[in-house]
Amino acid sequence: MLGLGKKDLTFLLIVLLLTLAAPILLNPFAEGSAMAQFNAGYPDLMQRIAIFAIFAVGFNILFGLTGYLSFGHAAFIGIGSYAMVWMLKLLTMNILPGLILATLMGGAFALLIGFVSLRRSGIYFSILTLAFAQMSFNMAYSVLTPITGGENGLGPALGDPRVLDAAAANGTIPEVNLFGLSMRATYELDLAGRVFQFNAGYYVCGLLSVFMFYLALRLFRSPFGMMLRAIKCNQHRLNYTGLHSRPYMLSAFVISGMYAGLAGGLMAAMDPLAGADRMQWQASGEVVLMVILGGVGTMLGPVLGAGFIKYCENIFSKINDHVLHEWFSIFPKWLENLLVTIVHPFVGQGWHLTLGVLFMLVVIFLPGGLIEGGQRIGRLIRRKPDAKGKAAATTPAE
């Protein structure tokens, strides 16, 4: 069904279920309890995780399959966002035209940048993409301010034409919506001390990300995906097998650019203010972190990585000394203080340090990322004699 094998179909269904149930699953702790700050089931964070999952899955199509490391993919995020906001300004507050344009613009810019950058490989390719992205960022940030809003950011304003919408009443900007369903609409459910927020915007992001995940799954299982993996292995042989690697690379680049464009569009749809910062090279670096951390070249890895980083960014960063003291208050005072001193640099404002250390550990010891870590642990637990033989035979694209 859906062009997937049985295993993949089950896999996809599980992902779909997890996505649908995320508002519940991510809010396991009762409100007001000490653990409540680890709850992640609020719309903004869930939207972000879904959006970055799209971005990372798309990036993985390029980096994971072909091994070409682009350091400039954030540019497409920015382009997607600007496209989205312009649609919101000019056409309608309905996000659909914006999402379509964002995807197309992402693809179009990727075609342009990819066409030039793919003339080179290895680190030269990385530097070229980096140069293009920094160039886009610097232009969006300075000379293109009339189009991008520069440092101010670009958002819908009262005076915008919005030709498809009815004139706004009472001097407020209409809400961002999908055929009338406001992206802010949230149904709150109070259950056993837990407040679950079912947010329309999240479900738009979540379902779209499952759909994009499905497309990526198809792509991984397709002849095209196989060719891309072949490029990573041995481009030389591929050429002598009668295949022209450049259009394959370019297609992969454009597809991942479209994923990024869509992610950027969604970002602007969930919060209609697009800042140039999301194009900066550090943002490109972030998606690299996500993909590597999760497990490069795997299906679920980038999603895990995106979730992990966004979770840390939003939840980990809120743990301050006060909270730490509360945690360690069961210990004697001196031990409590010592523990707080040790942990302090790694949480709150210092969560980047944790991320950096973790990232290094993954690159050094776990090149397969968290997914590989999980598999290793799973293997340790099972320890069946036949596990070894099977492990060698599984395809890497699980």
Partner: protein, 252 residues
């Protein structure tokens, strides 16, 4: 008129004259071996045939069309497949995938955005690949990573990849180099079988005279970038010029 016509090819690297005035005509559905001492220009000649090098002068015609200046994938699409001196395979892919790729290339051409088809659903191609792997007796190893194969198996796999495209011309660059005797014999048998089907032309570069004499219909001896003699194996065996050319080389 042969299927492959090399006319007046010259190639210089700086001061070194790698090929001088090479003429070669390979007849359809024959096996043509090129032998010669080290540095005779065999590899240079092969690289000229597949577009990796462009000769300074001269022409290379395949099936009446020039191959000069074409990219490797275009040359392959014309019907020329190449086996390398050290096996070039997709090490991180499975054996089956290694054979599927050339099958796709043969059917779909140099590029096709078949991103939403499923490999498993392509019955014809899978059947083709299966047949090929059975032919080379590697079907049992279809799920192994190609990189974990033995050297002999890698060579066989590469051969299978080339043959699965049913090329008009197969270029073999020392196909048995570094192989154990048993493997060499297997390879010879395989090549003989392929040759026996009578629908393929082979050009083979080889040091191992055993291989050459078991397979070749005609042999060209290359020395210092020029063809010395071209004849049938029987005639080559006792040819004085050949002996002279090889005299410097103790190994042969």
């Amino acid at each position: 008129m042969g299927i492959l016509e090399v006319k007046g090819v010259n190639k210089r690297f700086g001061g070194l004259r790698a090929l001088s005035d090479v003429n070669l005509s390979v007849q359809q559905n024959t096996c043509h071996a090129i032998i010669g001492p080290n540095g005779a220009g065999k590899s240079t000649l092969l690289n000229c045939l597949v577009g990796k090098l462009i000769p300074d002068t001269g022409s290379v015609l395949f099936d009446g069309q020039s191959v000069l200046g074409r990219k490797p994938h275009e040359i392959n699409q014309m019907g020329i497949s190449r086996v390398f001196q050290t096996p070039e395979i997709f090490a991180e892919l499975t054996v089956l995938e290694n054979v599927l790729i050339p099958c796709f290339a043969k059917r779909d051409g140099a590029y096709r955005l078949h991103a939403f088809e499923t490999v498993a659903a392509e019955r014809d191609i899978n059947a083709q690949a299966e047949q090929m792997l059975r032919d080379v007796k590697m079907w049992e190893k279809r799920d192994m990573h190609a990189g974990s194969l033995s050297r002999g198996d890698k060579r066989r796999l590469e051969m299978a990849m080339c043959l699965s495209q049913r090329p008009k011309l197969l270029l073999l660059d020392e196909p048995t180099a570094g192989m154990a005797r048993a493997d060499t014999n297997n390879t010879i048998d395989l090549l003989k079988e392929i040759k026996g089907r009578g629908d393929i032309t082979m050009v083979i570069i080889e040091h191992d005279m055993h291989v050459v004499f078991s397979l070749a219909d005609r042999i060209t001896v290359l020395a210092q970038g020029t063809p010395l003699v071209e004849d049938t194996p029987d005639n080559i065996k006792g040819h004085p010029k050949v002996k002279e050319a090889y005299l410097g080389e103790a190994a042969h």
